[in-house]
Symmetry: none
Protein backbone atom coordinates (compact mmCIF):
# COMPACT_ATOMS: atom_id res chain seq x y z
CA UNK A 1 0.00 0.00 0.00
CA UNK A 2 2.03 2.92 -1.25
CA UNK A 3 0.77 6.31 -0.12
CA UNK A 4 0.02 8.57 -3.03
CA UNK A 5 -2.32 10.88 -1.18
CA UNK A 6 -1.60 14.59 -0.99
CA UNK A 7 -0.93 15.37 2.64
CA UNK A 8 -3.90 17.35 3.86
CA UNK A 9 -3.14 17.40 7.56
CA UNK A 10 -1.00 15.16 9.65
CA UNK A 11 -2.27 11.64 9.29
CA UNK A 12 -2.60 11.02 13.00
CA UNK A 13 -5.00 13.95 13.26
CA UNK A 14 -7.20 12.61 10.51
CA UNK A 15 -7.22 9.17 12.07
CA UNK A 16 -8.00 10.57 15.52
CA UNK A 17 -10.92 12.46 14.05
CA UNK A 18 -12.22 9.34 12.35
CA UNK A 19 -12.13 7.45 15.61
CA UNK A 20 -13.86 10.29 17.45
CA UNK A 21 -16.56 10.21 14.78
CA UNK A 22 -16.94 6.46 15.16
CA UNK A 23 -17.43 6.85 18.89
CA UNK A 24 -19.88 9.71 18.62
CA UNK A 25 -21.86 7.95 15.91
CA UNK A 26 -22.53 5.23 18.39
CA UNK A 27 -20.49 2.59 16.66
CA UNK A 28 -18.68 2.20 19.96
CA UNK A 29 -20.35 2.95 23.27
CA UNK A 30 -18.68 4.22 26.42
CA UNK A 31 -16.58 1.53 28.02
CA UNK A 32 -16.52 -0.54 24.88
CA UNK A 33 -13.29 -2.02 23.69
CA UNK A 34 -12.10 -0.92 20.30
CA UNK A 35 -10.71 -3.45 17.83
CA UNK A 36 -7.09 -4.41 18.35
CA UNK A 37 -4.45 -2.03 17.03
CA UNK A 38 -3.50 -4.28 14.15
CA UNK A 39 -7.07 -4.79 13.05
CA UNK A 40 -8.12 -1.18 13.55
CA UNK A 41 -5.16 -0.01 11.52
CA UNK A 42 -6.21 -2.35 8.75
CA UNK A 43 -9.81 -1.11 8.91
CA UNK A 44 -8.79 2.54 8.71
CA UNK A 45 -6.23 1.83 6.02
CA UNK A 46 -3.21 3.16 7.86
CA UNK A 47 -0.11 1.64 9.36
CA UNK A 48 0.08 0.67 12.96
CA UNK A 49 2.54 3.39 14.02
CA UNK A 50 0.24 6.02 12.52
CA UNK A 51 -2.72 4.56 14.35
CA UNK A 52 -0.70 4.55 17.55
CA UNK A 53 0.06 8.24 17.15
CA UNK A 54 -3.64 8.92 16.80
CA UNK A 55 -4.41 6.82 19.87
CA UNK A 56 -1.88 8.73 21.93
CA UNK A 57 -3.55 11.97 20.92
CA UNK A 58 -6.92 10.55 21.95
CA UNK A 59 -5.46 9.23 25.19
CA UNK A 60 -4.07 12.64 26.07
CA UNK A 61 -7.37 14.35 25.50
CA UNK A 62 -9.01 11.65 27.57
CA UNK A 63 -11.18 10.13 24.88
CA UNK A 64 -9.77 6.64 25.24
CA UNK A 65 -7.92 4.64 27.83
CA UNK A 66 -5.20 2.25 26.75
CA UNK A 67 -4.56 -0.77 28.91
CA UNK A 68 -1.49 -2.76 28.02
CA UNK A 69 -2.20 -6.32 27.04
CA UNK A 70 -5.90 -5.75 27.36
CA UNK A 71 -7.14 -3.29 24.80
CA UNK A 72 -8.28 0.23 24.01
CA UNK A 73 -11.39 1.44 25.77
CA UNK A 74 -13.75 4.32 25.09
CA UNK A 75 -13.82 6.54 28.13
CA UNK A 76 -16.90 8.15 29.67
CA UNK A 77 -18.18 10.12 26.75
CA UNK A 78 -19.38 13.09 28.74
CA UNK A 79 -16.03 14.45 29.79
CA UNK A 80 -13.73 14.04 26.85
CA UNK A 81 -11.72 17.06 27.91
CA UNK A 82 -12.54 18.57 24.56
CA UNK A 83 -16.09 19.09 25.70
CA UNK A 84 -14.75 21.16 28.55
CA UNK A 85 -14.52 24.07 26.20
CA UNK A 86 -17.72 25.53 24.87
CA UNK A 87 -19.83 23.99 27.55
CA UNK A 88 -23.41 25.06 27.29
CA UNK A 89 -24.89 27.48 29.72
CA UNK A 90 -21.59 28.92 30.83
CA UNK A 91 -22.07 32.62 30.56
CA UNK A 92 -19.20 35.03 31.05
CA UNK A 93 -20.94 36.18 34.19
CA UNK A 94 -20.71 32.71 35.67
CA UNK A 95 -17.11 32.55 34.58
CA UNK A 96 -16.20 35.67 36.50
CA UNK A 97 -18.13 34.52 39.54
CA UNK A 98 -16.29 31.23 39.44
CA UNK A 99 -12.99 33.07 39.24
CA UNK A 100 -13.99 35.17 42.26
CA UNK A 101 -14.70 32.06 44.31
CA UNK A 102 -11.71 30.01 43.20
CA UNK A 103 -9.10 32.75 43.15
CA UNK A 104 -10.32 34.06 46.49
CA UNK A 105 -9.63 30.68 48.07
CA UNK A 106 -6.35 30.38 46.18
CA UNK A 107 -5.20 33.78 47.41
CA UNK A 108 -5.96 32.81 50.98
CA UNK A 109 -3.81 29.72 50.59
CA UNK A 110 -1.00 31.50 48.77
CA UNK A 111 -0.71 34.57 50.96
CA UNK A 112 1.31 33.05 53.81
CA UNK A 113 3.81 31.53 51.40
CA UNK A 114 4.64 34.62 49.38
CA UNK A 115 8.27 35.71 49.64
CA UNK A 116 9.48 39.31 49.59
CA UNK A 117 11.02 38.67 46.17
CA UNK A 118 7.64 37.69 44.78
CA UNK A 119 6.09 40.81 46.25
CA UNK A 120 8.67 42.89 44.41
CA UNK A 121 7.98 40.98 41.24
CA UNK A 122 4.25 41.55 41.61
CA UNK A 123 4.80 45.25 42.09
CA UNK A 124 6.89 45.33 38.95
CA UNK A 125 4.12 43.63 37.02
CA UNK A 126 1.67 46.18 38.32
CA UNK A 127 3.90 49.07 37.24
CA UNK A 128 4.22 47.54 33.79
CA UNK A 129 0.44 47.33 33.59
CA UNK A 130 0.14 50.99 34.48
CA UNK A 131 2.70 51.96 31.86
CA UNK A 132 1.08 49.92 29.13
CA UNK A 133 -2.32 51.38 29.88
CA UNK A 134 -1.02 54.93 29.55
CA UNK A 135 0.61 53.93 26.27
CA UNK A 136 -2.79 52.89 25.07
CA UNK A 137 -2.01 49.19 25.01
CA UNK A 138 -4.06 46.48 26.65
CA UNK A 139 -2.07 44.82 29.43
CA UNK A 140 -3.82 41.48 29.21
CA UNK A 141 -0.60 39.48 29.50
CA UNK A 142 0.49 41.41 32.59
CA UNK A 143 -2.92 40.91 34.08
CA UNK A 144 -2.63 37.19 33.52
CA UNK A 145 0.85 37.18 34.95
CA UNK A 146 -0.34 38.87 38.13
CA UNK A 147 -3.04 36.32 38.79
CA UNK A 148 -0.90 33.36 37.79
CA UNK A 149 2.01 34.44 39.93
CA UNK A 150 -0.18 34.54 43.01
CA UNK A 151 -1.66 31.15 42.21
CA UNK A 152 1.79 29.66 41.74
CA UNK A 153 2.73 30.62 45.27
CA UNK A 154 0.42 27.89 46.50
CA UNK A 155 3.00 25.45 45.18
CA UNK A 156 0.10 23.52 43.71
CA UNK A 157 0.28 22.99 39.96
CA UNK A 158 -3.36 21.98 39.70
CA UNK A 159 -4.54 25.22 41.24
CA UNK A 160 -2.35 27.41 39.07
CA UNK A 161 -3.52 25.50 36.02
CA UNK A 162 -7.15 26.13 36.93
CA UNK A 163 -6.52 29.82 37.45
CA UNK A 164 -4.76 30.05 34.10
CA UNK A 165 -7.47 28.15 32.27
CA UNK A 166 -10.22 30.30 33.72
CA UNK A 167 -8.35 33.44 32.76
CA UNK A 168 -7.87 32.22 29.23
CA UNK A 169 -11.50 31.26 28.82
CA UNK A 170 -12.40 34.89 29.13
CA UNK A 171 -10.66 35.38 25.82
CA UNK A 172 -12.06 32.36 24.11
CA UNK A 173 -14.32 32.84 21.10
CA UNK A 174 -17.35 32.40 23.31
CA UNK A 175 -16.57 35.36 25.49
CA UNK A 176 -14.78 37.52 22.96
CA UNK A 177 -17.98 39.20 21.93
CA UNK A 178 -18.09 40.81 25.34
CA UNK A 179 -14.70 42.32 25.58
CA UNK A 180 -15.20 45.12 23.12
CA UNK A 181 -16.35 48.05 25.12
CA UNK A 182 -15.08 46.41 28.25
CA UNK A 183 -11.45 47.22 27.80
CA UNK A 184 -11.42 50.97 27.93
CA UNK A 185 -8.54 52.82 29.52
CA UNK A 186 -10.76 53.85 32.40
CA UNK A 187 -11.89 50.36 33.30
CA UNK A 188 -8.30 49.18 33.16
CA UNK A 189 -7.31 51.93 35.59
CA UNK A 190 -9.94 50.65 37.99
CA UNK A 191 -8.64 47.13 37.58
CA UNK A 192 -5.13 48.24 38.41
CA UNK A 193 -6.36 49.99 41.52
CA UNK A 194 -7.98 46.77 42.66
CA UNK A 195 -4.81 44.85 41.94
CA UNK A 196 -3.04 47.43 44.06
CA UNK A 197 -5.41 46.66 46.92
CA UNK A 198 -4.70 42.95 46.64
CA UNK A 199 -0.97 43.49 46.58
CA UNK A 200 -1.23 45.86 49.52
CA UNK A 201 -3.00 43.24 51.60
CA UNK A 202 -0.35 40.68 50.65
CA UNK A 203 2.42 43.07 51.67
CA UNK A 204 0.69 43.61 54.99
CA UNK A 205 0.60 39.85 55.42
CA UNK A 206 -3.16 39.96 55.81
CA UNK A 207 -4.29 36.79 54.07
CA UNK A 208 -7.97 37.23 54.81
CA UNK A 209 -7.96 40.77 53.48
CA UNK A 210 -6.11 39.63 50.38
CA UNK A 211 -8.76 36.99 49.81
CA UNK A 212 -11.50 39.54 50.19
CA UNK A 213 -9.77 41.98 47.83
CA UNK A 214 -9.25 39.31 45.20
CA UNK A 215 -12.88 38.29 45.45
CA UNK A 216 -14.01 41.90 45.24
CA UNK A 217 -11.76 42.58 42.27
CA UNK A 218 -13.25 39.81 40.20
CA UNK A 219 -16.79 40.66 41.25
CA UNK A 220 -16.20 44.26 40.25
CA UNK A 221 -14.70 43.08 37.02
CA UNK A 222 -17.83 41.08 36.36
CA UNK A 223 -20.00 44.11 37.10
CA UNK A 224 -18.00 46.32 34.75
CA UNK A 225 -18.33 43.68 32.11
CA UNK A 226 -22.08 43.61 32.48
CA UNK A 227 -22.54 47.37 32.50
CA UNK A 228 -20.33 47.82 29.48
CA UNK A 229 -22.53 45.54 27.49
CA UNK A 230 -26.10 46.65 26.94
CA UNK A 231 -27.63 43.29 26.18
Amino acid sequence: MTSVRPAERRLYQQVAEQIRALVQSGAFACGDRLPAERELALQLGVSRPSLREALIALEIEGAVEIRMGSGIYVVSAAKTRSSRLAAIGESPVELMQARAVVEGAVTLLAAPQITPEVLVSLRGTLESMRAEIEEGRTPTDRDRQFHITIAEQTGNHVLSRIVGDLFDERHSPISSQFRNRFETRETWRLAVAEHEAILGALEMRDALLAQAMMHAHLEQSKRRWLESDPR
Copy 2:
Protein backbone atom coordinates in the same frame (compact mmCIF):
# COMPACT_ATOMS: atom_id res chain seq x y z
CA MET B 1 19.44 -2.43 20.50
CA THR B 2 17.12 -4.94 22.07
CA SER B 3 14.81 -3.64 24.76
CA VAL B 4 15.42 -5.29 28.09
CA ARG B 5 14.13 -2.46 30.24
CA PRO B 6 11.32 -3.10 32.70
CA ALA B 7 8.46 -0.95 31.48
CA GLU B 8 7.92 1.67 34.14
CA ARG B 9 5.62 4.03 32.31
CA ARG B 10 4.82 4.38 28.66
CA LEU B 11 8.02 5.20 26.87
CA TYR B 12 6.64 8.19 25.06
CA GLN B 13 5.80 9.81 28.38
CA GLN B 14 9.32 9.33 29.67
CA VAL B 15 10.79 10.71 26.48
CA ALA B 16 8.45 13.70 26.50
CA GLU B 17 9.48 14.43 30.04
CA GLN B 18 13.16 14.25 29.09
CA ILE B 19 12.60 16.74 26.31
CA ARG B 20 10.66 19.06 28.58
CA ALA B 21 13.54 18.89 31.02
CA LEU B 22 16.03 19.69 28.26
CA VAL B 23 14.03 22.74 27.29
CA GLN B 24 13.56 23.96 30.83
CA SER B 25 17.21 23.40 31.68
CA GLY B 26 18.04 25.92 29.01
CA ALA B 27 19.66 23.44 26.67
CA PHE B 28 17.21 24.71 24.06
CA ALA B 29 15.78 28.21 24.13
CA CYS B 30 12.38 29.29 22.90
CA GLY B 31 12.23 29.27 19.15
CA ASP B 32 15.26 27.04 18.86
CA ARG B 33 15.21 24.10 16.56
CA LEU B 34 15.68 20.73 18.16
CA PRO B 35 17.97 18.15 16.57
CA ALA B 36 16.45 16.16 13.73
CA GLU B 37 14.20 13.27 14.64
CA ARG B 38 16.75 10.66 13.69
CA GLU B 39 19.54 12.29 15.65
CA LEU B 40 17.37 13.12 18.67
CA ALA B 41 16.13 9.54 18.79
CA LEU B 42 19.73 8.37 18.77
CA GLN B 43 20.68 10.81 21.53
CA LEU B 44 17.84 9.74 23.77
CA GLY B 45 18.39 6.09 23.00
CA VAL B 46 14.96 5.35 21.62
CA SER B 47 13.54 4.46 18.25
CA ARG B 48 12.18 7.10 15.94
CA PRO B 49 8.53 5.99 16.20
CA SER B 50 8.76 6.23 19.97
CA LEU B 51 10.31 9.66 19.73
CA ARG B 52 7.56 10.70 17.34
CA GLU B 53 4.92 9.63 19.85
CA ALA B 54 6.58 11.83 22.45
CA LEU B 55 6.76 14.73 20.00
CA ILE B 56 3.07 14.41 19.23
CA ALA B 57 2.30 14.58 22.93
CA LEU B 58 4.44 17.69 23.23
CA GLU B 59 2.85 19.16 20.14
CA ILE B 60 -0.63 18.65 21.56
CA GLU B 61 0.23 20.39 24.78
CA GLY B 62 1.80 23.17 22.75
CA ALA B 63 5.37 22.74 23.93
CA VAL B 64 6.80 22.29 20.45
CA GLU B 65 5.81 23.07 16.91
CA ILE B 66 6.53 20.59 14.15
CA ARG B 67 7.08 21.96 10.67
CA MET B 68 7.25 19.39 7.93
CA GLY B 69 10.55 19.32 6.12
CA SER B 70 11.92 22.02 8.36
CA GLY B 71 12.28 20.81 11.90
CA ILE B 72 10.94 20.80 15.42
CA TYR B 73 10.82 24.11 17.22
CA VAL B 74 10.47 25.00 20.89
CA VAL B 75 7.43 27.17 21.33
CA SER B 76 7.26 30.25 23.54
CA ALA B 77 7.95 28.83 26.96
CA ALA B 78 5.36 30.88 28.78
CA LYS B 79 2.43 29.56 26.82
CA THR B 80 3.07 25.87 26.96
CA ARG B 81 -0.59 25.33 27.72
CA SER B 82 0.25 21.96 29.13
CA SER B 83 -2.75 23.01 31.09
CA ARG B 84 -5.71 21.15 29.78
CA LEU B 85 -4.12 17.79 30.33
CA ALA B 86 -2.71 16.89 33.67
CA ALA B 87 0.83 18.10 33.27
CA ILE B 88 3.73 16.49 34.97
CA GLY B 89 4.32 17.81 38.41
CA GLU B 90 0.65 17.48 39.11
CA SER B 91 0.80 14.69 41.56
CA PRO B 92 -2.37 13.12 42.89
CA VAL B 93 -1.52 14.76 46.17
CA GLU B 94 -1.73 18.19 44.59
CA LEU B 95 -4.94 17.17 42.92
CA MET B 96 -6.58 16.30 46.20
CA GLN B 97 -5.30 19.47 47.83
CA ALA B 98 -6.73 21.49 44.98
CA ARG B 99 -10.06 19.74 45.42
CA ALA B 100 -10.01 20.56 49.13
CA VAL B 101 -9.49 24.24 48.41
CA VAL B 102 -11.92 24.56 45.54
CA GLU B 103 -14.71 22.38 46.88
CA GLY B 104 -14.43 24.00 50.26
CA ALA B 105 -15.13 27.38 48.73
CA VAL B 106 -17.83 25.92 46.51
CA THR B 107 -19.58 24.35 49.49
CA LEU B 108 -19.57 27.64 51.33
CA LEU B 109 -21.24 29.27 48.36
CA ALA B 110 -23.71 26.48 47.79
CA ALA B 111 -24.82 25.91 51.35
CA PRO B 112 -27.28 28.83 51.68
CA GLN B 113 -28.98 27.89 48.44
CA ILE B 114 -29.63 24.24 49.13
CA THR B 115 -33.30 23.32 49.25
CA PRO B 116 -34.84 20.65 51.51
CA GLU B 117 -35.49 18.53 48.44
CA VAL B 118 -31.80 18.51 47.60
CA LEU B 119 -30.95 17.56 51.17
CA VAL B 120 -33.22 14.55 50.85
CA SER B 121 -31.63 13.66 47.56
CA LEU B 122 -28.16 13.89 49.07
CA ARG B 123 -29.16 11.61 51.90
CA GLY B 124 -30.47 9.11 49.41
CA THR B 125 -27.16 9.18 47.56
CA LEU B 126 -25.36 8.58 50.82
CA GLU B 127 -27.55 5.59 51.66
CA SER B 128 -26.89 4.14 48.21
CA MET B 129 -23.17 4.50 48.81
CA ARG B 130 -23.46 2.65 52.07
CA ALA B 131 -25.39 -0.15 50.45
CA GLU B 132 -23.00 -0.54 47.57
CA ILE B 133 -20.02 -0.67 49.89
CA GLU B 134 -21.55 -3.49 51.90
CA GLU B 135 -22.24 -5.32 48.67
CA GLY B 136 -18.55 -5.12 47.93
CA ARG B 137 -18.95 -2.71 45.05
CA THR B 138 -17.07 0.57 44.67
CA PRO B 139 -19.50 3.50 44.84
CA THR B 140 -17.42 5.83 42.70
CA ASP B 141 -20.39 7.07 40.73
CA ARG B 142 -22.39 7.86 43.86
CA ASP B 143 -19.39 9.62 45.31
CA ARG B 144 -19.16 11.77 42.20
CA GLN B 145 -22.87 12.45 42.32
CA PHE B 146 -22.65 13.68 45.89
CA HIS B 147 -19.93 16.19 45.14
CA ILE B 148 -21.47 17.30 41.86
CA THR B 149 -24.89 17.81 43.38
CA ILE B 150 -23.50 20.17 45.98
CA ALA B 151 -21.54 22.08 43.37
CA GLU B 152 -24.62 22.43 41.20
CA GLN B 153 -26.44 24.22 43.99
CA THR B 154 -24.20 27.20 43.39
CA GLY B 155 -26.13 27.67 40.17
CA ASN B 156 -22.81 28.25 38.48
CA HIS B 157 -22.07 25.90 35.61
CA VAL B 158 -18.38 26.75 35.53
CA LEU B 159 -17.93 25.76 39.15
CA SER B 160 -19.77 22.47 38.79
CA ARG B 161 -17.74 21.70 35.70
CA ILE B 162 -14.51 22.29 37.57
CA VAL B 163 -15.60 20.06 40.43
CA GLY B 164 -16.54 17.32 37.99
CA ASP B 165 -13.31 17.58 36.05
CA LEU B 166 -11.18 17.43 39.16
CA PHE B 167 -13.08 14.38 40.35
CA ASP B 168 -12.58 12.64 37.03
CA GLU B 169 -8.88 13.37 36.92
CA ARG B 170 -8.43 11.15 39.91
CA HIS B 171 -9.40 8.27 37.70
CA SER B 172 -7.39 9.27 34.66
CA PRO B 173 -4.66 6.94 33.42
CA ILE B 174 -2.11 9.21 34.99
CA SER B 175 -3.40 8.81 38.48
CA SER B 176 -4.58 5.25 38.11
CA GLN B 177 -1.31 3.86 39.35
CA PHE B 178 -2.23 5.13 42.77
CA ARG B 179 -5.69 3.80 43.19
CA ASN B 180 -4.81 0.21 43.85
CA ARG B 181 -4.91 -0.37 47.53
CA PHE B 182 -6.73 2.87 48.07
CA GLU B 183 -10.21 1.61 47.55
CA THR B 184 -10.68 -0.85 50.34
CA ARG B 185 -14.01 -1.27 52.04
CA GLU B 186 -12.67 0.27 55.22
CA THR B 187 -11.44 3.47 53.57
CA TRP B 188 -14.77 3.80 51.82
CA ARG B 189 -16.56 3.53 55.15
CA LEU B 190 -14.46 6.40 56.44
CA ALA B 191 -15.27 8.41 53.36
CA VAL B 192 -18.98 7.88 53.88
CA ALA B 193 -18.69 9.03 57.49
CA GLU B 194 -17.07 12.24 56.29
CA HIS B 195 -19.79 12.72 53.72
CA GLU B 196 -22.24 12.31 56.54
CA ALA B 197 -20.54 15.13 58.44
CA ILE B 198 -20.79 17.40 55.42
CA LEU B 199 -24.45 16.62 54.94
CA GLY B 200 -25.10 17.14 58.63
CA ALA B 201 -23.63 20.61 58.51
CA LEU B 202 -25.71 21.42 55.45
CA GLU B 203 -28.87 20.23 57.20
CA MET B 204 -28.02 22.41 60.16
CA ARG B 205 -27.63 25.32 57.77
CA ASP B 206 -24.11 25.90 58.98
CA ALA B 207 -22.30 26.97 55.81
CA LEU B 208 -18.94 27.54 57.47
CA LEU B 209 -19.01 24.15 59.13
CA ALA B 210 -19.96 22.53 55.83
CA GLN B 211 -17.01 24.19 54.17
CA ALA B 212 -14.68 22.97 56.89
CA MET B 213 -16.06 19.43 56.69
CA MET B 214 -15.69 19.33 52.92
CA HIS B 215 -12.14 20.56 53.20
CA ALA B 216 -11.36 18.05 55.90
CA HIS B 217 -12.92 15.22 53.93
CA LEU B 218 -10.70 15.78 50.91
CA GLU B 219 -7.61 16.30 53.01
CA GLN B 220 -8.32 13.04 54.80
CA SER B 221 -8.89 11.39 51.49
CA LYS B 222 -5.50 12.60 50.34
CA ARG B 223 -3.90 11.26 53.49
CA ARG B 224 -5.51 7.85 53.05
CA TRP B 225 -4.30 7.81 49.50
CA LEU B 226 -0.75 8.49 50.58
CA GLU B 227 -0.70 5.95 53.36
CA SER B 228 -2.15 3.25 51.18
CA ASP B 229 0.73 3.55 48.78
CA PRO B 230 4.15 2.71 50.16
CA ARG B 231 6.26 4.30 47.41
